[in-house]
């Protein structure tokens, strides 16, 4: 494939670009969705194509095509140059581009069983059996889904990069929905929208759906008759997957350097963080230690090189509550004067690489969920995300969870429904006073992070363990 890349890159450079890089991808995906013991959707997809970037002066152009004929590859290079040239019609400040080591290497996600080598009937049967059982146990609707991706990626640049990577991702989940009088309640496992990691079929097998079917069916029905989550200011205990989404929304997006620089202002928004406050701004309590680590084996956003050829890294984002790092690429890092973080990825060959969260996780503490509950006099323990909303500077948020449990005097007293909480990012994180340890630290994965125009879906990781947040506003309803 590298010869295809060379043709396109040479064409861009010959046209007048001062730098060019390109990726050829072979992307395979398999997606299976089931409901009530029947398959609702089974789709297998395979795509091949090239995406090429050209830098002309300070302006970028990107062109992609499915067509890998010689003529088309040459045209792709030329078009990327012409698009970059057109960008200069509305130009501004010079945009520097950071150097990174020129690397020739290859990498494959460690895995036991390639999910595409496993018979699809095994995967289908898992979902049929799981949803059938949940339905028989009283679920109004029992849902299940599995998704697998096998992405082969060849990257080359006019500076001499030649990198091959094969990234394999697997995951899915099951849910029980109960419909009552004018309301629905749902319970999901391992988390809402499924849990995803890098790895093969073994990732899904490790979830052991069969051990959670009864609980999901029972809890979704029990929620229908459960009391409403109380309203008020009290202690909030978050289960790991909800905390993972809290990290994603109120930390992960806020530390994206392209947002901080205003490059996403019109759509995704900006950030409440200002670069002048790096290494000074208090993001949260001393317990808050966040790292962006693209090297964690098995986490969803683990790779060896990003889509600009920069090596994957572990970067401190928040240390003992102080903001210390950002997510960056070669252009944004150069503008901000920081080292390129190797955090630029694209959603397929047809999309422009952009700053993306890697595994942005909260390092574990030294407590446990059991200890946190025992230490709580008046609070709510919330599990599994149901809704999320945050403003465009990542400050004011409101989350809803599938289930809540009233905690009184160190004990779980009662299940409550429609639990929600709201807060302001630094205040909320500043109120984190207990954090579970490594035993409960899970590499949660988010497979549906939307960003960019044209729209891109990113796969991000968020290691987290349960934690407690004091004095949180709980129970907001319309």
């Amino acid at each position: 494939m590298f010869e295809y890349l060379d043709i396109a890159i040479d064409s861009a450079i010959e046209s007048g670009a001062k730098y060019s890089d390109a990726r050829v991808l072979i992307s395979k995906s398999r997606s299976i969705a089931a409901k009530n013991g029947e398959i609702e959707n089974f789709n297998e997809n395979e795509k091949i194509g090239i995406g090429i970037r050209a830098l002309v002066g300070s302006s970028w152009g990107f062109y992609s095509t499915y067509n890998l004929s010689n003529e088309s590859l040459k045209l792709a290079g030329k078009k990327s140059y012409e698009i970059a040239k057109a960008s200069a019609i509305v130009s501004g400040k010079d945009m520097p581009f950071a150097d990174v080591p020129v690397i020739q290497d290859s990498y494959t996600t460690p895995h036991n069983e390639n999910p595409f080598s496993v018979s699809s009937s095994d995967q289908i049967n898992l979902l049929i059996e799981s949803t059938e059982k949940m339905k028989k146990l009283g679920s109004s609707r029992a849902f299940g889904r599995l998704d697998f991706w096998d992405t082969e990626k060849w990257f080359a640049s006019s500076q001499g990069h030649k990198i091959y990577q094969n990234i394999i991702e697997s995951g899915g989940g099951i849910s029980s929905l109960s419909v009552g009088d004018g309301e629905t309640q749902i319970r999901s496992y391992p988390q809402s929208f499924g849990e995803y990691r890098t790895g093969g079929w073994e990732v899904v097998k490790s979830f052991e759906f069969e051990n959670h079917i009864e609980r999901l069916a029972e809890e979704s029905q029990r929620l229908l008759v459960a009391p409403q989550c109380p309203e008020g200011t009290m202690d909030l205990i978050l289960e790991g997957s909800q905390l993972a989404l809290q990290i994603h929304e109120s930390v992960g997006h806020a530390i994206e350097l392209d947002r901080i620089l205003g490059w996403e202002a019109a759509y995704a928004g900006t950030s409440h963080l200002e670069l002048e406050k790096l290494n000074k701004h208090r993001y949260g309590s001393d317990l808050m230690n966040i790292v962006a680590d693209a090297t964690l084996p098995g986490a969803l956003a683990t790779f060896k090189y990003d889509d600009e050829g920069t090596p994957a890294q572990r970067v401190d984002i928040v240390k003992e509550g102080i903001w210390t790092g950002v997510l960056s690429g070669r252009d944004s890092a150069a503008v901000a004067g920081v080292d390129p973080g190797g955090m630029v990825r694209a959603d397929g060959f047809g999309r422009l690489p952009m700053v993306r969260m890697t595994n942005v996780g909260l390092l574990p503490g030294d407590s446990s969920l059991e200890e946190i509950i025992q230490a709580t006099d008046n609070g709510i323990y919330m599990e599994t995300n149901r809704s999320w909303s945050i403003d465009d500077i990542r400050l004011n948020f409101q989350f809803g969870c599938e289930a809540g449990w009233l905690v009184k005097n160190g004990k779980i007293i009662d299940m409550v429904k429609n639990p929600t909480y709201t807060g302001i990012t630094p205040e909320f994180w500043g109120n984190m006073d207990m954090l579970s340890g490594e035993d409960e630290w899970v590499f949660w994965g988010t497979p549906n992070c939307g960003k960019g125009q044209p729209s891109q879906i990113g796969h991000t990781g968020h290691p987290a363990s349960p934690a407690r947040f004091k004095n949180t506003r709980i129970g907001v309803r319309g």
């Binding site: 072979i26 409901k35 029947e38 398959i39 609702e40 959707n41 789709n43 297998e44 997809n45 395979e46 795509k47 091949i48 194509g49 970028w60 152009g61 990107f62 992609s64 095509t65 499915y66 067509n67 698009i83 057109a86 960008s87 019609i89 509305v90 130009s91 501004g92 400040k93 699809s120 009937s121 289908i124 609707r141 929905l177 309301e183 629905t184 620089l261 205003g262 490059w263 996403e264 202002a265 019109a266 047809g350 999309r351 149901r386 809704s387 999320w388 909303s389 945050i390 004011n396 409101q398 809803g400 709201t422 807060g423 302001i424 125009q453 044209p454 729209s455 506003r473 907001v476 319309g478």
Partner: protein
């Protein structure tokens, strides 16, 4: 288009006997020029050709998809589909293929816009607020869609669309606007820029106000978001089947002034005249004088609910997403926005919502925020810009009988949380809207 004809010929001869088969191809040229900090920083152009093959045999169904390059050998592609078909369970929801009489041919040749033309539109927008920071995009799309099936249906259609969407920012405010149309030349970039610049300027130094129930005027983008949520989660027949839709047909669920249509047959409508199955779409009444009239159906949902298909299958979204209206129009009323403002004793103007998420599907209680232009109105006048507010509000209740004070007299294509070009709407004046939090939480 030759690539389609060649593909069809190659696939057709490899289809197993006795199988029902549907072949689709979407050939697209998409371009999007993005600007931030008042300069173009991302500029992309893509050509794609995606192919979907569905086989149904012995009560089993399989869909596999690829693009023209990955397809390589049509015989192998069909063989792969047959292998997967054999591994598949029985498909009780199979609703068959459209008949040949449903065929439609709307294929046409449409000229692409150039990167320079898009950059010039961006320039037109950016130049309207010279001292402010501009960000947004200008996009253009050409899509050619082909569907063939073993019932003899052979449909094709072409569509084009173009949009500009942007904001201006000051130190303390932002204002946005949007335009959409069939061709890039239709797009009034200067006008959109001028509107966005005025909102940003008028919105400087906003003040926080207490949350609570307010009378509101919702701008085009805010109205568009309410309607797209009701379209995707409410009128989608799949939501009804899953027990999660608030919509009940023939019930008066909305105010008398709410008249909602889906108008794929109108000349100014953006998008294809056929749905993903290749069937001709029809104009449809969704809400008539506040009464819900229909769900959006696909073949499968129509079969499951034993009713007529409304031809709302979307290409590439998968069978399990249900039907989506893509040409929704809220009929205009007769009240200019200035008159709406004059009639309000105390209320808020909201230009745009942001990050809206459903808390409860059946009541459509949604939480989200305002942005890009919000103003306090008192005694018939705009008094001051207001800061960020969080609402937690049932979108059904927001349009319920008695809550619509008036409907605006001018509609336009408006952006929404689910993308561009789907809705053409006027502004709305609502009696109550529930804000549950301010900037301090």
């Amino acid at each position: 288009m030759k690539i389609w004809e060649d593909l069809l010929q190659d696939i057709e001869k490899n289809i197993p006997s006795g199988a029902e088969c549907e072949l689709k191809m979407m050939h697209s040229k998409s371009a999007l020029t993005r600007f931030a900090n008042s300069q173009i920083h991302q500029n992309v152009d893509e050509e794609s050709a995606d192919v979907f093959l569905t086989l149904h045999k012995d009560s089993k169904t399989i869909t596999i998809s690829t693009n023209l390059t990955a397809l390589k050998n049509p015989k192998d592609f069909v063989s792969r589909a047959i292998e997967s078909l054999n591994n598949s369970p029985l498909d009780k929801g199979w609703a068959g293929l459209p008949k040949s009489s449903q065929s439609f041919n709307g294929l046409s040749t449409i000229d692409e816009s150039t990167p320079d033309e898009r950059a010039n539109k961006v320039n037109d927008f950016v130049s309207q607020g010279k001292k402010m920071n501009a960000a947004g995009y200008c996009s253009s799309y050409i899509n050619n869609y082909f569907v063939w099936n073993t019932n003899g249906l052979n449909s094709s259609d072409s569509s084009s669309s173009a949009f500009i969407d942007g904001i201006f920012r000051t130190e303390s405010s932002a204002g946005s606007s949007h335009r959409g149309g069939i061709l890039l030349s239709d797009i009034e970039a200067q006008q959109a820029g001028s509107e966005a610049a005025k909102l940003a300027t008028d919105g400087e130094n906003p003040e926080d106000i207490d949350p609570g129930n307010y009378e509101v005027i919702l701008g085009h983008e805010a109205v568009s978001t309410i309607l797209v949520f009701l379209g995707v989660y409410g009128f989608n027949a799949k939501s009804k089947i899953d027990g999660m839709s608030p919509i009940n047909i023939d019930e008066k669920q909305f105010d008398d002034q709410i008249n909602l249509l889906d108008t794929p047959e109108d000349d100014d409508s953006i998008g294809f005249k056929i749905d993903a199955s290749g069937s001709k779409k029809r104009n449809l009444e969704i809400v008539k004088d506040g009464v819900s009239k229909t769900y959006f159906h696909t073949r499968r949902t129509a079969k499951e609910l034993n009713t007529k298909n409304t031809f709302h299958e979307l290409f590439g979204w998968g069978e399990n997403f249900g039907g989506i209206g893509t040409n929704i129009k809220l009929l205009e009323g007769n009240v200019p926005q200035e008159e709406m403002i004059k009639s309000i004793k105390r209320g808020i103007y909201i230009n745009e919502f942001w990050y809206c998420r459903v808390l409860d599907p059946i009541t459509q209680v949604v939480t989200g925020l305002n942005r890009n232009g919000s103003f306090l109105i008192e005694n018939g006048k705009i008094i001051k810009p207001v800061g960020r507010l969080r609402f937690t509000q049932s979108f059904m209740a927001s349009l319920a009988p008695g809550n619509i004070v008036s409907v605006g007299d001018k509609s336009r294509y408006a952006d929404s949380e689910f993308g561009e070009g789907m809705l053409k709407v006027p502004a709305l004046h609502l009696k109550e809207f529930n804000f549950t939090g301010g900037v301090s939480g």
